[in-house]
């Protein structure tokens, strides 16, 4: 009995040992270390705001694509050398266009993109209001009193127990 318990304990210890490295979370593919916490903050902001152009629904922080790796490296090098956030953004936009930014800049060309949904919402709300108005008005589109009497008579005919 003792031997069996020892065996079970050893097996479970071994299993735990094997599981340990697997449970370590792999947060980054490469390590980009900063001495300056401000620079690190800018770097983290940038890789969250820049789009990976290969997997176009991911930002640079999340993407595993080779180009994302290169662009993260480029961003890191620039920030480490002392570039400002706007410098890196300008660098990327010069090469890849506005699409590289997750937040499209406010330009004349992007006015429709930014304000279009609100305009559509306003139009549909106005349209809805007018529709409701016209319906409530249509309700009172009067019947003549003669028609009302006739309607009452017909209704009371089907219900002999109810007095008109």
């Amino acid at each position: 009995m003792n031997l069996l318990r020892k065996l079970v304990r050893q097996c479970s210890l071994l299993t735990l040992l094997w599981l340990m490295p697997v449970s370590a979370v792999n947060a980054a593919i490469e390590v980009h270390g900063f001495d300056d916490s401000r620079k690190e903050a800018i770097y983290k902001e940038l890789i969250a705001e820049l789009r990976c152009l290969v997997c176009q629904n991911q930002n640079l922080a999340d993407s595993n694509a080779a180009l994302a790796l290169d662009l993260r490296q480029q961003t890191y090098d620039m920030i480490k050398a002392g570039a400002a956030k706007d410098d890196v953004i300008e660098y990327m936009v010069n090469r890849y266009g506005d699409f590289v930014l997750y937040r499209p800049p406010l330009r004349i060309a992007t006015l429709v993109l930014w304000f279009g949904p609100f305009v559509f919402l306003a139009i549909s709300l106005i349209g809805l209001r007018r529709h409701i108005h016209s319906r409530s008005q249509a309700k009172d589109a009067g019947f003549s009193s003669k028609d009302l009497e006739r309607a009452e008579r017909l209704l009371s005919q089907n219900r002999p127990d109810k007095a008109p």
């Binding site: 152009l53 180009l67 290169d70 890849y96 266009g97 699409f99």
Partner: protein, 178 residues
């Protein structure tokens, strides 16, 4: 009263046109901000002779194509006959930008499938690719005699694209300067 009922039809037709046009577009294509701008400068070693460098200045005075390729790129293999056909017309010189590749692999690839390029240059780390806004392989840039990028083709060039778009543009650019 009658005109009001045409409004939904009108909205439908407008929407159908809008969506119909949308069907012909590829949302994954990113337009290049370099069209009608000077080709970004670079200086890279030639693939077959790394002691010699090539710059865009060396190509001034002629209409040329910069074709981004790599030996690990399957689509480049598919595009290769078209690039060869383009080179065979004799109307344009093609410089290959060997992107993030191993020079021995690249040389072997060219030996195996044929070398249509005037020269290939090695962009080992992809830095020049980033400078040109390359986000996939293959991509091809059409550059004129003054070093201005006139057209970027994303993805492999088809025979259609070659005959309907690229060759006509090359001929037009040549005619313009002469």
């Amino acid at each position: 009263m009658k005109a009001r009922f045409l409004i939904p039809v009108g909205i439908f037709i407008a929407l159908a046109i809008l969506l119909g046009v949308g069907l012909t577009l590829d949302p994954r294509e990113i337009p290049s901000p370099f069209i009608e701008k000077s080709a970004p400068a670079f200086e890279l070693p030639r693939l077959h002779d790394s002691s010699v460098n090539l710059t865009p200045e060396d190509m001034k005075g002629q209409v040329w194509l910069l074709n981004v390729w790599a030996s690990w790129c399957a689509a480049c293999r598919a595009e290769h006959p078209v690039i060869t056909a383009l080179a065979d017309t004799g109307e344009v010189n093609i410089v290959g930008l060997n992107y993030k590749d191993e020079p021995p692999d690249a040389i072997r690839w060219l030996q195996q499938f044929g070398d249509p390029y005037l020269a290939s240059i090695s962009d080992l780390e992809g830095k020049v690719g980033i400078d040109y806004g390359v986000y996939g392989v293959p991509e091809t840039f059409l550059i004129d005699q003054q070093g201005v990028i006139r057209y970027k083709h994303i993805g492999p060039i088809s025979y259609e694209a070659m005959n309907d778009k690229i060759l006509p543009m090359i001929r037009e650019l040549k005619a313009r300067s002469s």
